[in-house]
Amino acid sequence: MAEQSTFARALSHPSFRVGLLGSFIFILLALISVVWTPYATDIVDIPNRFGSFSASNWLGTDYLGRDQFSLLMVGIASSLKVALLAVAIGALVGVPLGLMAAAQRGWLEAIILRFNDFIFAFPAIISAIIITTLFGPSAINAMVAIGIFNIPVFARVARGGALSLWTLEYVDAAKLSGLTSAQISLRHILPNVASLLIVQATIQLSLGVLAEAGLSYIGLGTQPPDTSLGLMLKEAQSFFFGFPMQAIIPGLAIVLFVISFNLLGDGLRDTLDPKLTRVSTL
């Protein structure tokens, strides 16, 4: 069989293709918004408020007369930023914990697992509310709150993958070569669980976008004058019966955003984890 790169194999997966295209568009919009938006998002233009779709304002204007498309671009960027950093917090803390638990076993593992259970015991949104009410509502605190939730998720995935690798003969060979547990974890375990972690990261990213939208919607995330998809929804809800498009547009953006990342994650998982896809041929 001809060796194919993982990426080429993933591309032949239809849901991966759709997910990749969708995520790419969202990320591109977010990146462009950093340097350019069709209109400035901090200029109020009351005479033009609640504008409908037009050539100058593609998606109309909001209750302050700001261009909806520009707001959407900035909103996507801030939602993505929160979700990305939350994933980073979760992975940077959770993965080492999971690897340590698998390498040491014994009491260290027990402590890490109980710590995971402790975080899991609280519904995510409740703890996020606790954190943001303690430290004040802001995008940063929302990020930290979501990030803490990602820690046990990454720790579990890393530990689960690592445990099965620790029984393999090449790990024994590395022990015989005098490598310490930390060296083995970095050299042999981490690269071999990386694919599991990447898949988990894309899924947590989409959950992060959703969580950020939820927190902003109840006023505990991004604060005005900044904007995010959840905040746009919140601001639009007062006008929902008069101007439903105000809420439908950011709502639809959240749905498409989450679906794109989920499809990307599914496609990656199917490609990277041969146990799930490769139907045994014999």
Binding site: M1, L168, E169, Y170, D172, A173, A174, K175, L176, S177, G178, L179, R187, H188, P191, N192, T281, L282
Partner: protein, 512 residues
């Protein structure tokens, strides 16, 4: 009139042909063996007879099955026993019910309870197993249940695909005897697929030898074994009887490794409030390995030989006892294995596919042991790795490749090269050839013998294959239930065994 006739069967996946024009026929009551190495197409040939080929294939040729039209082929006319008895049984169903399920399908309207009991008796199991779940049975018992299910439909042909390769030697011999008895009693034909020439010789009257999808030789078992015509068959037969190699220029030196009173027990998992229960894996093991000596370690599965070899290699620690190795003493009371001792010892593992990290190239894997010798500079490291490769007959260009680019035999050579990089005094060989195809086994054994001759390395050779041990080892230790029950010169022990387990292991041997 033959029961099944296969004419010029070819199977290919895409452009890749796996089976080329194979013909075979099975008469009623005849026992036919198909021997070949992994990838020789033997399983596909069997699956095509029972019409279980994967859908993505292209098949050419004729298969004539002498079965009344309209009747179900599988179960009723052809029964099958699979390689892995654990995955062939439903883990959530009592085994008695699984036999009953097969009966309900093929023979409705009989007394199921009585018939299940009969079938269980037929495969020589106690009646109580009917109420057990598969995980409560041993591998051999599960394979017997698999056979009972295959027998439920009273088929005229039984296909057995490597039914014994997941079992230990003693169980293997019992299962083979059982299959033979059952086939005779029911005048049932058998298609027996195996990589093991010994098993085929013990069971079949007729044999087909396959090599890479081609039928290289066919004939009655005795004629093929006595006067093989093809080079490939000759190689297979020669490899099944490994030739004996002894040291010629070198003599066995002073003691290198001495174990004194090594014991190890494992705690069984259970609730914390319950009384702790333990398994005594090793009790009071004492042994000596001398310089340049090859010591064989044999025993039935679960006897503790893996634990012992891992303790010697330093992968596990013992709870009691001391180890003297190359001037270093360590153990429970004396502390951990010193780093200086580690560099004099290395290990070759059983599975050539699991012993290399798939993400690292061979250079990264082969340089890894030199972590124990930080004093070496770059040129010295390079020289050591290249020399180790040269000794196992490979070239340094291969270092850039990843493990998947090598065959099983090459990987085992690379594993030996990795063990040689440190230039150790003792190498622990844990079943180094049992995962390899028979035809490359000989090469690897030859290589190990050469290395011992040239560099005076001592081996601890752990194996379940007594013929291999007899060919390579000077002395043999026989283990049973965590104890060494017999030891001595290989010829003395194997010719006049004292311990009961040695006798049983020798009886279970399937010679060619």
């Amino acid at each position: 009139m033959s029961l099944v006739e296969v004419k010029d069967l070819s199977i290919s996946f895409g452009d890749h042909a796996v089976v080329h024009a194979i013909s075979l026929s099975i008469d009623p009551g005849q026992r036919v063996g198909v021997v070949g190495e992994s990838g020789s197409g033997k399983s596909l040939t069997a699956l095509s007879i029972i019409d279980l080929l994967p859908e993505s294939d292209k098949t050419k040729g004729d298969i004539v099955r002498n079965v009344p039209t309209g009747e179900s082929l599988r179960g009723k006319h052809i029964g099958m026993v699979f390689q892995e008895p654990m995955t062939a049984l439903n883990p959530l169903m009592k085994v008695g019910d699984q036999i009953r399920e097969a009966l309900e399908l093929h023979l409705p309207g009989i007394d199921f309870v009585a018939r299940v009991a009969e079938l269980i008796e037929e495969v020589e199991l106690p009646p109580s197993v009917a109420n057990r779940y598969p995980h409560e049975l041993s591998g051999g018992q599960r394979q017997r249940i698999g056979l009972a299910i295959a027998l439920a439909g009273e088929p005229e042909l039984l296909i057995a695909d490597e039914p014994t390769s997941a079992l230990d030697m003693i169980t293997q011999a019992q299962i083979i005897a059982l299959i033979k008895r059952v086939c005779k009693a029911h005048n049932m034909a058998l298609l027996f697929i195996s990589h093991d020439l010994g098993a085929v010789a013990a069971l079949c009257d007729f044999v087909h030898v396959l090599e890479r999808g081609k039928q290289v030789e066919s004939g009655t078992t005795s004629s093929v074994l006595k006067s093989p015509q093809q080079a490939y068959t000759k190689r297979l037969i020669a490899a099944a009887k490994p030739t004996r190699r002894r040291l010629t220029t070198r003599t066995i030196g002073p003691p290198l490794l001495e174990l004194d009173g090594i014991s190890k027990r494992f705690k069984l998992p259970g609730p914390i409030w319950a009384k702790k229960s333990y398994v005594q894996a090793l009790s009071d093991i004492s042994l000596t390995i001398r310089e340049a000596e090859c010591v064989g370690l044999v025993g039935p599965s679960g006897c503790g030989k893996t634990t012992l070899s891992r303790i010697i290699a330093g992968l596990q620690t013992a709870q009691r006892g001391t180890i003297q190795f190359d001037g270093h003493a360590y153990g429970r009371k004396l502390g951990e294995m010193p780093r200086a001792a580690r560099r004099e010892l290395s290990m070759v593992f059983q599975d050539p596919f699991g012993s290399f990290d798939p993400r690292l190239n061979m250079a990264q894997s082969l340089y890894e042991p030199l972590n124990l010798m930080p004093e070496l500079d770059h040129a010295e490291r390079r020289e050591r790795v290249h020399m180790a490769l040269e000794r196992v007959g490979l070239t340094p260009e291969m270092l850039k490749r990843h493990p998947h680019a090598f065959s099983g035999g090459q990987r085992q050579r690379l594993a030996i090269a990795r063990a040689l990089v440190l230039r150790p005094k003792l190498v622990v060989l844990d079943e180094p050839v049992s995962a390899l195809d028979v035809s490359i086994r000989g090469d690897v054994l030859e290589l190990l013998a050469d290395l011992r001759e040239n560099f005076g390395i001592a081996y601890l050779f752990v194996s379940h294959d007594l013929d291999v041990v007899r060919a390579v080892a000077d002395r043999v230790l026989v283990m049973d239930k965590g104890k060494i029950v017999e030891q001595g010169d290989v010829d003395t022990v194997f010719d006049a065994p004292q311990a009961e387990i040695t006798q049983r292991l020798l009886d279970a041997r399937l010679g060619v």
